[in-house]
């Protein structure tokens, strides 16, 4: 898509993507690493910051757009995907990133998550998954493990956690991956690939909450995460294999690109109304001939 190929007048450097304010996340929060990786990926891809829009919901992780210098939208809890979809369809030449938390995306926004993937709209959805509700000070989230004690489940969570990877695979996402905030190089590469993918790309990114999640900490993840890219056998075009790998959880937790298919057109490519370029660039008037016919139809 044109967006990715636009060469800026001067090369984009880290300062260009630095937000107006510094992140107010707790020191050590996993979200810092995700922000850095996104900025690095954009610089490596040399996408001008004014051609990027970052859309989020509400949560600690959803404060993301405020900390990166792109066009940003800070929307409602759980509603980042529909807002981003509308923005993308109005101007499909923009690179649209969507960021938010596990509660935002898999709890209150779960319905939109499934349907956005079905549409294969060219959005890049990065969930900063800390398996807890951070901003609301530590309640159970849809990805909290069974038995995890939180303020809202002091005796331990009883609900089976959502598996974001299998959910995305079964909803038809055409790019599905998992990253870890502490694996910067790996994560940056994954984000680059996601942005370059035409169609919906989804990354579940482990981004530990150092304040409210004492189960799934950096220390807990470090020895467990295993990169799919280190496994020469692994074929990320094989959906069944991806489903199988996605269910692996415990002593080993796979990260990396689980799945990608490139044979499906994105929504913007299939939608004939967008053939003549972004909606925002069109003449505001209905073509006179069409308008005339609309009225004649009624007579």
């Amino acid at each position: 898509m044109a967006t990715i190929n636009i060469t800026p007048a001067k090369p984009m450097v880290m300062a260009d993507f630095k937000g107006k304010v510094d992140p107010d996340w707790c020191p050590g929060c996993g979200d810092f690493g995700v922000l850095a990786a996104v900025q690095k990926a954009l610089i490596e891809l040399q996408i001008p910051n004014h051609r990027v829009a970052t859309v989020s919901g509400i949560g600690c992780s959803s404060n993301f757009p405020g900390f990166i210098n792109t066009y940003g939208m800070h929307t409602l809890h759980g509603r980042s995907l529909p807002v981003a979809s509308g923005l993308k369809l109005a101007n499909h030449d923009l690179t649209v990133l969507v960021t938010g938390g596990d509660g935002d995306g898999f709890g209150i926004g779960a319905g939109h998550f499934v349907h956005a993937m079905r549409r294969n709209i060219n959005l890049n959805y990065f969930v900063l998954d800390n398996q807890v509700y951070g901003l609301t000070t530590g309640q159970t989230s849809p990805t909290s493990r069974i038995g995890m004690k939180t303020k809202s489940n002091p005796y331990g969570n009883m609900d089976t956690p959502v598996n974001p990877i299998t959910l995305a695979l079964s909803a038809g996402a055409t790019f599905v991956g998992r990253g870890f905030s502490a694996e910067q190089k790996h994560l940056t590469e994954l984000i680059k690939q996601a942005i370059q993918h035409k169609g919906f790309s989804f990354l579940d990114i482990f981004s530990p909450c150092v304040t409210y999640n004492h189960d799934n900490t950096f220390q807990w993840f470090r020895p467990r995460v295993k990169k799919l890219e280190d496994n020469a056998e692994y074929d990320s075009t094989n959906w069944i294999a991806a489903m199988e790998k996605a269910t692996v959880w415990g002593e080993e937790i796979p990260i990396g690109k689980f799945y990608e298919r490139t044979d499906l057109p994105s929504l913007e490519e299939t939608e004939p109304v967008l053939d003549d370029g972004p909606l925002v660039d069109r003449d505001i008037r209905v073509p006179a001939e069409a308008a005339k016919r609309f009225v004649e139809e009624l007579m």
């Binding site: 107010d24 004014h50 509400i58 509603r79 109005a90």
Partner: protein, 591 residues
């Protein structure tokens, strides 16, 4: 009062009430007649009862009137429910093979059609409808030829054979009626005018298109679905992207996203869907992204009566979303106004970067009206407000929420170099940086609230105050809002014939209301009566809250059906006689 001719066609859902209805509407409009049509139906695809009224005349037909001149019952049930609507001079055409005549009033002509001897009913299941159409035409004094053209328009797509079969069946009905039935006293008039016939939903959709809407999305919900259907069928030609979305929460947020992208965007729903949209409307207000949401009201609460009309969502619109913020709310007065209003409300929402709500209702959404095609103007005035669409100008740091005297801050569209910024749902500073949570600061909050709320004054100045229709010294002032306009007008004409003078204050802009102007008008009124299609007098309460004005009397209806003119006439007479100050007319027509 001008002459009209009204036809009622009734039957079970699935019996084909709509087709003869469409054909008659086309026929009337091709004769240069005005018309107003409304289908009273039930939430059922097969069975139940549906009753279509089409009223035509040389002059504008502002409402459905009180009675009918011709009844075409397609089943026994309809005969029983509606025969009593006919008065002296009226007629009833029915299939005498399957339907028994009821007892009609003096002077009503019963016209039995021996359907099985006139047509091959094994071949054509809706032969009775077509025969009745032919017979009706003969009795209305219309030459048969016009029907061929109309059938061509209606069935042409299905092929020549279908057209011919229908023509020959209709001809049999026509000839049978000419030989056996008495024609109506006055033949159907004709003019050389040509009108466009459309539903309110089509008008809202076309009005949106004319306003430059480029993004429409929806989740189906009666009675708003017609907007989606028009958009879906015409979007590609109009250059409008149309999407069916997973739910109404998705709908409003997608529309807001598209609007932020720089295009005009809108959506339509009914009460339940509108309830789901409310948080999004707050986002539109806070982030200052214009969006237009249409609520086609049906009888509530909850799932309510999906196929019946009501003006019951006024307070839902007034209170949609939490917190204080500027908004505009308009209620179209008739189907033509559904079109005209759309560019107006888009201009306001763009200029003041706030949500706009259209309060339509089932009566207008699904009713049909003839309008002068010139009214469907696809080149309306368009004002997109203060928008930055290129990086032409020199600027320091761009402040999306710059403090200005008008409260309006120039809006940069994403994609332009040098204007990157964040729009936010949390309270923010001029540059979009959040001031809630870590940055909470009461002084900054106040400045931002004041900035947004300053737009209220601008909105008020941009909309003209309502005016009184009729003599200032009338005996009675009738106050209505939105879709009741036409029925109140006809009731006033009827009251005038009875020696009671009236005037009318019909409210189109709910917000801004112009309370001072309204008070000035109403202070001079002799007796004020408010007419509303809801239980609690929602507009009366609103007017009272804004102006302290209390009307002398009220006429309310909440049975799901619209007002008929005689309901208002009788209620006004009762109230003048001093018997009551709250009239709740009974809908005598059993639909």
């Amino acid at each position: 009062m001008s002459q009209t001719f009204a036809i009622g066609i009734g039957g079970a859902a699935g019996q084909g009430v709509a087709t003869p209805g469409d054909i008659l509407a086309l026929l009337f409009s091709r004769r240069g007649l005005h018309l107003n049509a409304y289908n009273a139906y039930q939430s059922i695809i097969r069975g139940g009862h549906t009753f279509l009224t089409i009223r035509a005349g040389v002059d504008e037909v502002s409402n459905l009137g009180d009675g009918i001149d011709l009844l075409i019952p397609l089943n026994q049930d309809t005969m029983e429910r509606h025969l009593r609507l006919l008065t002296d001079g009226g007629a009833c055409i029915y299939n005498s093979d399957t339907i028994k005549a009821g007892t009609a009033a003096e002077g009503v002509q019963l016209c039995p059609l021996p359907v099985s001897t006139l047509a091959d009913i094994t071949r054509n299941k809706v032969a009775q409808n077509t025969l009745a159409l032919g017979a009706a035409l003969s009795m209305m004094g219309v030459g048969f030829n016009v029907l061929e053209g109309v059938f061509q328009a209606q069935f042409g797509r299905k092929g020549e054979a279908v057209v011919n079969e229908n023509v020959s069946i209709a001809r049999a009905g026509y000839e049978y009626a000419t030989a056996n039935f008495k024609p109506f006293a006055k033949p159907l008039p004709m003019t050389d005018k040509r009108y466009a016939v459309l539903s309110g939903n089509t008008a809202l959709a076309m009005g949106g298109a004319a306003a430059g809407c480029k993004f429409y999305c929806a989740y189906p919900m009666s009675p708003s679905t017609g907007v989606l259907h028009w958009m879906a069928a015409h979007g590609r030609k109009a250059g409008i992207l149309v999407r069916q979305v997973e739910d109404e929460i998705g709908v409003i947020n997608m529309a807001i996203g598209a609007a932020h992208g720089g295009v005009r965007s809108m959506c339509a729903t009914s009460g339940g869907g509108f309830a789901l949209m409310t948080e999004g409307l707050g986002l539109s207000a806070m982030a200052e992204i214009p969006v237009v949401a249409i609520n086609c009201m049906r009888a509530g609460p909850s799932t309510g009566v999906p196929t019946k009309t009501e003006q019951g969502d006024l307070w839902q619109a007034l209170g949609a979303a939490f917190g204080d913020f500027p908004r505009v709310i308009a209620a179209p007065l008739d189907i033509g106004d559904c079109f005209t209003l759309m560019p107006e409300i888009f201009n306001l929402t763009d200029r003041f970067q706030c949500p706009g709500i259209v309060l339509c209702d089932l009566l207008l959404s699904e009713g049909r009206l003839s309008v002068d095609p010139k009214l469907l103007d696809f080149n309306p005035h368009i004002d997109r407000g203060e928008m930055i669409t290129s990086n032409g100008e020199v600027h320091d740091e761009y402040l999306r929420y710059k403090i200005t005297e008008s409260g309006v801050s120039p809006r940069a569209i994403p994609g332009i170099p040098g204007f990157t910024h964040v729009v936010s749902s949390d309270e923010h500073e001029e540059n979009g940086v959040l001031i809630s949570d870590e940055y909470t600061n009461h002084a900054k909050r106040r400045v931002m609230m004041d900035k947004r709320m300053r737009k209220v004054a601008g909105i008020e100045a941009a909309v003209v105050p309502p005016v009184l229709d009729g003599p200032a010294d009338a005996d009675v002032t009738l106050i209505g809002w939105g879709s009741t306009d036409g029925t109140i007008k006809e009731a006033r004409a009827m009251l005038a014939e009875q020696g009671i003078t009236t005037n009318q204050l019909q409210i189109r802009w709910i917000v801004p209301l112009h309370g001072d102007a309204i008070l000035k008008i109403l202070r001079g009124a002799k007796r004020t009566i408010m007419v509303e299609n809801n239980y609690s007098g929602q507009f009366a309460r609103y007017l009272r809250s804004e102006t302290s004005f209390v009307a002398d009397g009220h006429i309310r209806k909440y049975d799901g059906e619209p007002f008929m003119p005689h309901h208002i006439v009788e209620a006004v007479r009762d109230q003048l006689a001093g018997t009551t100050t709250l009239s709740i007319p009974t809908h005598e027509v059993m639909v």
